[in-house]
């Protein structure tokens, strides 16, 4: 960045070339060099929790509770027999379908809500209300409409995910700088082009925040679907183990689901840095 000012001072045609040649180097992470890295703190916290759980959990009646080594043993068992893998695939299929549908509908819905007053007045209240909808209460009705299989599971996951995505997108559109939209207007861009080329990219960080919320809700929806429709997948293992008082086995899918949601969130973060790299470069901390 050193020769940028020099370049502004000398208005000839050669200095920009030299300015461009000097690579913009990433800031050295001074903080990270001196302090304990964040991941180490996270690992230490988890390690401590597992140790405490192990120490105190061993004294508890195995029906009322379990402890990490017993859960790990049960998990290894289920992994070997292929039960866990099959359940994960069974769970993830409707999850991915419902989640993708939520993205495909939620993002355009949010963009329209934020950008067009009439659309917002007509449907905004439905989306706000839909977000707070007690979905569990509606599951029996959904079962009547869609049966007990794949379709109803997709519908439940879709309904849980679409609202946080739409609402966050909507909110994001609302805070897009007015002057950026004026740039579009100044170049006579039609409304839909402004939406696609300016509003959408400017809203991406908000959309990604909505997607992260939706991952958490979607995973919960997945388990709800497996409890209340055809019992299957990871949720199915939970409910079957619980009815057999096999607490250690019951904890295996619970932990798998938590790990899964955490990994998915991390994946969303990676995707965000990939499709919206300018954002983390602009913001103070990534």
């Amino acid at each position: 960045m050193v020769d940028l000012t020099a370049q502004d001072m000398h208005m000839n045609q050669t200095s920009p070339v030299t300015a461009a040649k000097s690579e913009v180097k990433p800031r050295p992470k001074l903080r990270a060099r001196r302090a304990v890295p964040s991941w180490a703190i996270t690992v230490a916290t988890i390690g401590l929790l597992i140790a405490l759980w192990e120490y105190f959990g061993r004294d508890v009646n195995p029906i009322f509770g379990s402890y990490p080594s017993a859960i790990a043993a049960a998990g290894w068992d289920m992994l070997r027999t292929g039960e866990l893998g099959a359940a994960m695939v069974q769970s993830l299929e409707p999850f991915v379908a419902g989640f993708v549908l939520a993205l495909v509908f939620g993002v355009p819905l949010g963009l329209l809500l934020g950008r067009f007053r009439v659309f917002e007045a007509a449907f905004g209240i439905l989306v706000t209300g839909g977000y707070a909808m007690p979905l569990v209460a509606l599951v029996p009705l959904l079962v009547l409409w869609l049966g007990l299989g794949f379709k109803v599971k997709v519908a439940i996951i879709f309904l849980m995910c679409v609202f946080p995505i739409a609402i966050n997108t909507w909110l994001g559109v609302k805070v897009v700088s007015k002057t950026l939209i004026e740039v579009g207007r100044a170049f006579v861009a039609p409304n839909m082009v402004i939406l696609r080329r300016i509003v959408f990219p400017a809203t991406l960080p908000y959309i990604m925040a909505g997607v992260k919320l939706a991952v958490g809700r979607g995973v919960v929806a997945m388990v709800i679907a497996e409890f209340f429709t055809a019992i299957s997948g990871l949720g199915g293992i939970i409910i079957n183990s619980a009815t057999n008082f096999d607490t250690a086995r019951m904890f295996v899918p619970i932990i798998v689901i938590m790990v899964l949601a955490t990994l998915l969130n991390a994946l969303v973060g990676v995707v965000e840095r990939w499709i919206a790299p300018w954002q983390s470069e602009i913001s103070a901390r990534d």
Binding site: M11, V24, V183, F187
Partner: protein, 260 residues
């Protein structure tokens, strides 16, 4: 050609202060004609309506009454006959310098190799060919504003409208951009309408200075300095510069004493 006329333009805004609606008269029967190929500077204290006048001319604001003519034809809304340079450049942060210049051209319908080459040519015009692949946050304030100028010029408008484009820059960057603007204007022959509150900038750039006060055009002052202006540093020290500056200062001073 690139003649811009405001004919009897008025503009009022409603603003809400503590749930009370106030009507602000930003422009009151403003009329002037900016000649083809001239640099016109609109100057005045903040709130005098200079930016509103520019935005009405651009078509970003609609006049409450009156009309805007470009080369004698009434214009409604924005158009490719006018190019806007924004106060803080307002580049799209997800596009690099070249893509930002291409944006306006794409909107105009240009595609393919012509699109790329035209954008590159205008980046070269503002001296940023070598930094074409940098994104806005990797550019200094002055470089950003040069991209902003290239973006506006690339669509080949008749008139370049500039809203305090150098206001946020440091003194040295500002000086270099001022002389570069004069240079570009001399080469392209574009009409330039330039809003500023900086007296020196007005004298350095303008053929004519339009002094505004409380939503009205108060005075039009000719700047009798030769064009091309030559070295702006030398010009600043000349008695002609001082005389022109003083004349505008008086007009502004009078405007302020009336306003307060």
């Amino acid at each position: 050609m690139g003649e811009v006329s405001l004919i009897d333009v008025s503009k009022s805004f409603n603003i809400k202060i503590d749930s009370e609606i106030h009507t602000v008269q930003a422009l009151r029967n403003v009329g002037f004609t900016i000649r083809d190929g001239e640099i016109a500077v609109l100057i005045g204290p903040s709130g005098c309506g200079k930016t509103t006048a520019l935005r009405v001319a651009m078509g970003l604001e609609t006049a409450s009454s009156g009309s805007v003519l470009v080369d004698g034809r009434e214009v409604r809304g924005c158009g490719y006959d006018r190019g806007m340079v924004f106060q803080h450049a307002e580049l799209l942060p997800w596009l690099n310098a070249l893509q930002n210049v291409m944006f306006g051209l794409e909107m105009k319908g240009m595609r393919g190799a012509e699109l790329h080459d035209t954008a590159m040519r205008y980046l070269d015009l503002v001296g940023l060919k070598g930094a074409w692949n940098r994104r806005p946050h990797q550019l200094s304030g002055g470089m950003k504003q040069r991209v902003g100028i290239a973006r506006a010029l690339a669509i080949d408008p008749k008139v370049l409208l500039m809203d305090e484009p150098f206001g946020a820059l440091d003194a040295q960057t500002r000086e270099s951009l001022q002389s570069e603007l004069l240079d570009i204007q001399a080469r392209t022959g574009k009409t330039v309408v330039f809003v500023t509150h900086d007296l020196d900038e007005a004298v350095l750039l303008a053929d004519r200075v339009f002094v505004m006060r409380a939503g009205e055009l108060q005075e039009i002052i000719d700047v009798p300095l030769p064009r091309p202006r030559g070295d702006l540093g030398v010009l600043r020290g000349s008695p002609e510069f001082a005389a022109a500056r003083y004349k505008i200062w008086q007009a502004l001073h009078q405007a302020e004493s009336v306003a307060h």
